[in-house]
């Protein structure tokens, strides 16, 4: 394997029909996913505040921020596990070809999940059912969603496991999750997520439970597989350096508000929002001599707070910041919500 270059790998190979390859969409059409004004209220708290971003077909997007930023909440909304009737969710989630799915009933989501959107969870050992074999867990969606017969599902399951780098795939089918290492479990999770050829893959901190060498393997695998299928992927990450390596675009969130978003090469290279800069300053590289940690504090979720949520931890805060929420406006190749951005 050669180093994966972000630029050239975009030209994806088409798959043979036996592998369930999809016909390439015409370039330059509607974005695959468009999220607009997504807000979530829970009691007096505003968990998500007018989150908006869009994702091109075949691109990777990173949702970045600390715990409590709302990254995982967005992922849950995108896979239809948080829906309007149950929670105070508003805004639109437009999935290309399906229209606005934020209101879609569970019945409609059952069709979307797997076929259009699939999720890779952070903790594979918890997401896999310990009572069932790997084979059963990977074949169930193949038979239910794709309607394959028993033997066809088995053949496809073996192909999938081989494609995610599990050697000796036929015998792995009868293994139970606990018999596999953490890295192997995550590979199985990826195989399950890929099984019904979704065009949007959600990966919620897919490697934070794994060793670094395994992390590199898994991230690379996800990138290769999504590109091979010309699918798109949303990574939920807290590591900005990793995000710069695997995401085309990034959305930086703080307390449920988008503070800065744009191509990762622009946003992460020269952040303009003080929060993005602060997060970047917390990343340790091997020559990091001095850290400039943010002061402690948690974002306030009070729905009535009118200003920027980062204001009370921000070194560059102005009087205006606590009073009025800065709008997300296009600035120098990105979108930024800040009254006093870095030069």
């Amino acid at each position: 394997m050669k180093p994966l270059d972000l630029g050239t790998a975009r030209a994806s190979t088409t798959l043979p029909a036996a592998l369930g390859g999809r016909i390439e969409p015409a370039a330059g059409t509607e974005p695959l996913l468009k999220v607009e004004g997504l807000s979530l209220t829970r009691g007096e708290s505003l968990i998500l505040d007018e989150v908006a971003f869009s994702l091109r077909r075949g691109a990777t997007l990173g949702l970045l921020g600390e715990s409590g930023a709302g990254k995982s909440t967005i992922a849950l909304a995108l896979i239809g596990l948080l829906r309007k009737p149950e929670v105070g969710l508003s805004g639109t989630i437009t999935l290309d070809g399906e229209g606005d799915v934020v209101d879609a009933p569970e019945k409609a989501w059952l069709k979307l999940r797997g076929r259009r959107v699939a999720m890779i969870f952070q903790d594979a050992s918890a997401a896999l059912n310990p009572c069932f074999t790997i084979g059963r867990q990977i074949m169930t969606p193949l038979r239910r969603v794709l309607g394959l017969g028993r033997s066809a599902a088995r053949v496809r399951a073996i192909e999938l496991l081989e494609s995610v780098g599990l050697n000796d795939a036929p015998s792995r089918l009868s293994a139970y999750p606990h018999q596999l290492s953490g890295g192997m479990q995550q590979r199985v999770m990826i195989a399950i997520a890929l099984s019904s050829n979704p065009d949007l893959l959600l990966a919620d901190e897919p490697t934070s439970a794994l060793d670094v060498t395994i992390q590199a393997q898994i991230i690379r695998l996800i990138l290769e597989e999504t590109r091979r299928r010309s699918a798109s992927c949303i990574f939920v990450l807290h590591d900005l350096a990793l995000a710069s390596q695997c995401c085309d675009d990034v959305v930086v969130l703080y307390g449920g508000q988008v503070v800065e978003t744009g191509p990762s090469r622009i946003v992460l290279d020269a952040p303009m929002h003080p929060y993005t800069q602060a997060l970047k300053g917390c990343v340790l590289e091997f020559d990091t001599e001095e850290l400039e940690p943010l002061p402690s504090g948690a974002p306030s979720f009070a729905s009535k707070s009118p200003g920027c949520r980062f204001a009370d931890r921000c070194a560059r805060a102005l009087d205006k910041c606590a009073a009025t929420k800065p709008p997300l406006v296009a600035t120098r190749g990105r979108k930024l919500a800040c009254w006093n951005p870095l030069p």
Binding site: P293, P295, S296, G297, A298
Partner: protein
């Protein structure tokens, strides 16, 4: 020194346990009602002489087996003309005394046996566990009958018998908690610090075991009441003419076809108390057991 940011988050202080229970009562209407019912039982038992319309043993020769809502006898009288309301109120004294007393004995015994078993290991643990298994092998009622036959009858004997029968289940949960706490990093950390074994048990293990035990005890009070009533119903617990509910139900059994209230009144009181105690116990457990606690 470099400036280190002072963490002032989470300024709210930790709510006290009582406040926690109040919040629970507000959020769970059944818990609130059940607590009031239990409180009423306890109050009327404590102040029985003031609350009760008649002394429990007084016979009203003019009103044998009068049905409820008779003048002067709101809940009727039994075959000896004794007021059922009075007897039920006095009966609550015995039920509650036996319930709480027995659970206290059971919990204390269980704590000692369970902690010893959990900490000893080796042959001692094995022997203690077999002892607990032996206690658990027999239903509490059978165990209590066995103890009564040795000790003789009487309220104190019943408390002791039911209490000993409860040691088995208590010690098993205590041992499980001890094993769990023993494996926690803070116990190891104290050991590393050089803290002596007894101090570790006293300061680190016991406080973490006693609390779940107290919650367990709340749940088991209703069970102890039930066992004691069962004993007196069988005629081997409290001796007549003590106004005990089990005894009253047994006395009323012969008249159940034409005077159902004689057994019905103490039976209903018993049922209400048991249900209320169970709801309170469950509420307390749910509130303090993080595994069962609801989010938010």
């Amino acid at each position: 020194m470099v400036d280190i940011p002072v963490d002032t988050r989470l300024a709210a202080r930790r709510p006290t346990r009582l406040e926690g229970l109040r919040a629970l009562a507000r959020s769970n209407i059944y818990f609130a009602i059940a607590s009031i019912v239990v409180a009423l039982f306890i109050l009327s038992a404590t102040f029985a002489p003031l609350v009760s319309p008649h002394p429990p043993l007084d016979q009203d020769m003019a009103a044998f087996m009068s049905p409820p809502l008779t003048e002067n006898h709101m809940l009727g009288t039994d075959s000896f003309g004794r007021d059922l309301l009075a007897r039920t109120i006095y009966g609550a004294r015995y039920a509650l005394a036996i319930g709480f007393g027995a659970v206290l004995i059971g919990a204390l015994g269980g704590l000692i046996v369970g902690v010893a078993a959990g900490l000893s290991g080796g042959v001692t643990e094995w022997a203690l566990m077999r002892f607990i298994d032996a206690l658990l092998a027999l239903p509490s009622l059978i165990m209590a009958i066995a103890f009564i036959s040795i000790l003789g009858q009487g309220v104190d004997k019943v408390i002791l018998a039911v209490g000993v029968a409860l040691i088995g289940p208590f010690s098993r949960t205590v041992r499980a908690d001890v094993l769990q706490v023993k494996a926690q990093a803070f116990v190891e950390a104290a050991g590393l610090m050089g803290v002596k074994r007894l101090a570790i048990i006293w300061r680190h293990i016991l406080p973490n075991v006693i609390f779940p035990l107290a919650v367990q005890a709340t749940i088991r009070v209703s069970y102890a009441v039930l066992v004691s009533s069962g004993l007196s119903f069988l005629g081997i617990g409290v001796a007549p003419p003590t106004p005990d509910w089990g005894l009253m139900i047994a006395e009323g059994r012969s008249f159940v076809s034409f005077a159902p209230w004689i057994a019905g009144v103490p039976g209903t009181a018993l049922a209400i108390l048991l249900i209320a105690l169970s709801i309170v116990g469950d509420g307390v457990r749910e509130h303090f057991d993080p595994k069962l606690r609801k989010q938010g």
